[in-house]
């Protein structure tokens, strides 16, 4: 067991964990931030995507200690108080979900996509960039619409 410290959603946190603890387990089990989901646990589905030092990462495929000292943002950390993040708002507005299981990872990936690719994303780019996020309900149509609108809304 070892203490692992990082900044999660702007707050300094520490927990004592086994070296085997994955970042997603640290977030969910130790910090009770259960918005980050475990879908496949094999780094394919993207339900566990969070931002580590500004880059989207599959938190099921890194150990908590690899994030020692890092700044981590989860789905719980993107809204501004009661006001949803523009990407969250776009998913709500365009109904970019059905069961909602993949949604936190979709939104974290979408925000990362905008950070890397800018605010004007064509559908082809969005679909290509969503390669690492699986949704088993929607057929992606409304997710793509939501990301396109959310990306524009993030321009402010």
């Amino acid at each position: 067991m070892l203490p692992v410290s990082m900044t999660v959603n702007g707050k300094a946190v520490t927990a004592t964990v086994d070296p085997r603890t994955l970042l997603v387990q640290y977030l969910r089990d130790n910090l009770r931030l259960t918005g980050t989901h475990v879908g496949c646990d094999t780094s394919q589905c993207g339900a566990c995507v969070v931002h580590v030092d500004g880059a989207a990462r599959k938190s099921c495929t890194m150990f908590a200690w690899q994030a020692e000292g890092a700044k981590v943002t989860t789905i719980e950390g993107v809204a501004n108080g009661e006001k949803l993040h523009p990407m969250q708002e776009a998913f709500r507005e365009h109904h970019g979900l059905q069961c909602g299981y993949c949604t936190p990872g979709m939104i974290m990936s979408a925000i990362d996509m905008v950070n890397r690719k800018g605010n004007d994303l064509d559908d082809n780019t969005i679909r290509h960039e969503l390669e690492g996020n699986l949704c088993r309900c929607t057929g992606y149509h409304n997710i793509v619409k939501a990301i396109s609108a959310g990306a524009r809304a993030m321009k402010g």
């Binding site: 085997r20 094999t42 993207g46 599959k58 495929t61």
Partner: protein
């Protein structure tokens, strides 16, 4: 997953010493191949030696004759390197086809080459350009490096520090992706550097990446997809599974090789 200890060295020398000291130790780079196999208990390292704190292992350096890529350089940083795109777009395109955006933000060239997955993309580019793998103790030519499925010439206490790719005037990679996993069902990298022609195939061989001398000979006469017309690759020694039979993979080698040569001619400038 079995229990392990971990170490976070800050120099290559420390990392080498830790490897030498721990027979069951394993290096951790991006972790997107190693951590999944640890979860499956197919790997059970006693010690994980995390390379992320080691200085000086990342970066893309373009010199007049070669491109030198640090072992810990992430796929996205190779793909996005403007300098590399300018001199050898065919190589820059390879990491952009690996995994998905999240994987490309952590996966590394050194990790890919040390793992030598039989379906990985970088081995094709490395063998297809005749690159040199630079380690903590020596320089290994690509032709002597790949030793079979998940097998390389690396010794137990040897760490890849850089990979040096000669700049080829024409180079391109074409990959037939498995539609679900995105791994190469068959990927072919071709290059032409002066009179040296290379054709390297990943995904198809039961023993990992390999060259195709008969295609290389044909392309020496004229570096054109037409030179490969009618040439076939034997299905003997190729993978056969539920995704594709050996015969289908053999067919794809011809198709992807012709496409790669066409792309190299297009991207690599006029024929000389």
């Amino acid at each position: 997953m079995y229990a392990f200890k971990f170490e976070r060295p800050t120099t290559v020398r420390q990392a080498v010493n830790l490897l030498a000291k721990n027979e069951e130790g394993k290096l951790l780079a991006g972790g997107h191949s190693l951590i999944p196999v640890m979860k499956l208990r197919l790997a059970s390292p006693s010690v994980l030696i995390d390379l992320s704190k080691v200085e000086g292992l990342s970066g893309v350096e373009v010199t007049p004759r070669s491109v030198v890529i640090g072992a810990m350089t992430k796929h996205k940083d190779v793909a996005n390197s403007k300098e590399l795109q300018a001199v050898m777009p065919g190589l820059a395109a390879v990491p952009g086809s690996i995994g998905d955006p999240h994987v490309r933000q952590v996966g590394t060239i050194g990790g890919s080459l040390a793992n030598n997955d039989p379906n990985a993309d970088y081995p094709a580019a490395t063998l297809g350009l005749g690159a040199t793998i630079i380690t903590s103790k020596r320089k290994i030519p690509a032709d002597a490096y790949f030793k079979g499925m998940f097998e390389t010439a690396l010794e137990p206490d040897e760490i890849i520090t850089k990979v040096s790719f000669p700049i080829a005037k024409k180079a391109a990679y074409q990959k037939f992706k498995h539609p679900a996993s995105g791994f190469a069902l068959v990927g072919v990298f071709v290059s032409k550097r002066g009179s040296e022609i290379r054709v390297a195939v990943t995904g198809a061989g039961a023993n990992g990446v390999f060259r195709v001398p008969s295609f290389e000979e044909a392309l020496k006469k004229r570096f054109s997809p037409k030179s490969l017309e009618g040439l076939t690759h034997t299905a003997a020694g190729l993978n056969s599974d539920i995704h594709a039979s050996a015969e289908y993979r053999a067919h794809l080698i011809g198709v992807m090789a012709r496409r790669a040569v066409a792309a190299a001619n297009e991207k690599g400038g006029a024929e000389d």
